[in-house]
Amino acid sequence: MMTTISSTFEPFREHLDEHHDRRDCLIKVNRDISAASKKVIFLLQRILNDASNDDHVLSLRAATEAKKKLAEIHTMLRSIAHELVGPRFWRYAHSISSGLQEYIEALSFVHYVEHGRLISYERVQETLCDDTGQHLFPLPLSDYVLGICDLTGELMRLAISSISRPNGRMKASQISLFVRGCKADFETLTPYIHDLHKKQAVTVQSLRKVEEAIYAIAIRSSEYELSPPMLDHIVSQVVSGGTEPSEEPDPPSRQKRLGDIQGPRQ
């Protein structure tokens, strides 16, 4: 009987070892994907805050640079596809879920910067393909939706940081419209997706920040009959007065922005 029971357990050892090794490997790649995606987001925020007279050119430059970085993430995703074949994907889906969401956040941010619209679920799934157009794995709907929720936070940051720039107020109101749309659309999905209601609450907070910044400007601009460049100047003063919730206060670049406003546009 001794031999029978050990021979029963022998294949289990292999099975468990293989499972743990695979999961460890995926968790590692997941972390790399997260880190690389965060870099894409930082890159976009940085470039979009650069001094420029032409927002359109700046957006295109940001998107182009970001896409180069996204290609690196695609390589990482392809490298793990063979571990996620068939029923295995759902076994490890939660091990790569956070990285996938971060990737979707970065990808949708690039898409927004380039097209001013929300990237569709199908379009995201298309990016998760191999050279022959085969899906690497099925994209979980929850990861798509939750990734987009995180996008709203980034857009809030972008709206606040660019509000003092020329055209910044328009950009901020576009963003607030967009985020409001996301929030409304996702409301019907909350019963189906775990933790979506928490993300929705964060989205509301982001939305309020943008709305309040826009309000602060609207209320002041109603007091003065000023030319847009003068308004820009006042706005930048208000923003530097402490309402900016940006994570990285960056005085030199703010000066640069001010210089920009007073520069060629006047």
Partner: protein
């Protein structure tokens, strides 16, 4: 979001919610069966040795009736989505594994291998991307068996079967050795394995009690049959 995209996502999510509901229903049916199995097998603790075969006969049809439910589940679950829904039937499946390995131990004192257990509850190999008996679920069922056997060791003695603790002790130690071969991570399986030592200690105490009172022949003469083979 484009209204069409939103509709698509809504439809997909609604479809998933519907599927989940159906799996949950079938899983509930499965659980009812396993409750019948465990409650029937629980009578073992108050059944004299001679009447155990008759008792086991009564659970056999219940094992058989699981096949219908497992087949329905396998049909309901989309290809490759085993792990997406597995949690919904983990409880009844592990309970079923326990009942099968328990009945097998009571029949011939052996540990039913995974394949035999899967066959008994009607799980087919070709469903392995949708509905299958994973090693993890099997191992959980086996741990429950050892938990149960530490109780049986006590109750068998009460009913006058003094050799049962010896057979149980040998069996439990072998299973424990089997588990020791596995590299378990810090998860539920690991914690349950760690608890096995208390069951083994309990069983040993019973063996000690019956040996001390010379209720069984001394260990060297113990007729343990195939247990030593």
């Amino acid at each position: 979001m484009d209204p069409l995209d939103l509709d698509l996502i809504n439809d997909l999510l609604e479809g998933e919610a519907y599927l989940k509901e159906r799996i949950r229903e079938q899983s509930g049916e499965f659980e009812k069966k396993t409750r019948i199995m465990t409650s029937t097998l629980d009578k073992v603790h108050s059944t004299p040795k001679s009447e155990i075969p008759a008792l086991l006969e009564t659970v056999r049809p219940v094992f058989h009736s699981c096949q219908e439910i497992t087949a329905t589940l396998a049909e309901t679950i989309p290809p490759d989505e085993l792990w997406k829904w597995k949690e919904l039937w983990t409880t009844p499946l592990r309970a079923a594994v326990f009942s099968v390995v328990f009945a097998c131990f009571l029949t011939d004192g052996t540990l039913a291998p995974l394949v035999a257990v899967a066959e008994k509850i009607g799980i087919r190999e070709e469903w392995n991307d949708r509905f299958s008996l994973t090693p993890e679920d099997y191992l959980h069922g086996v741990i429950t068996l050892i938990n149960e056997l530490s109780r049986l060791a006590v109750n068998a003695v009460t009913l006058g079967d003094f050799e049962a603790p010896l057979r149980i002790s040998v069996f439990a130690k072998e299973v424990f050795t089997g588990f020791s071969m596995l590299n378990l991570k810090n998860d539920l399986l690991r914690r349950r394995f760690d608890s096995l030592k208390y069951d083994i200690k309990k069983i040993e105490e019973v063996v000690y009690d019956v040996s001390l009172r010379k209720l069984v022949p001394s260990p060297t003469e113990t007729p343990m049959g195939e247990s030593h083979g």
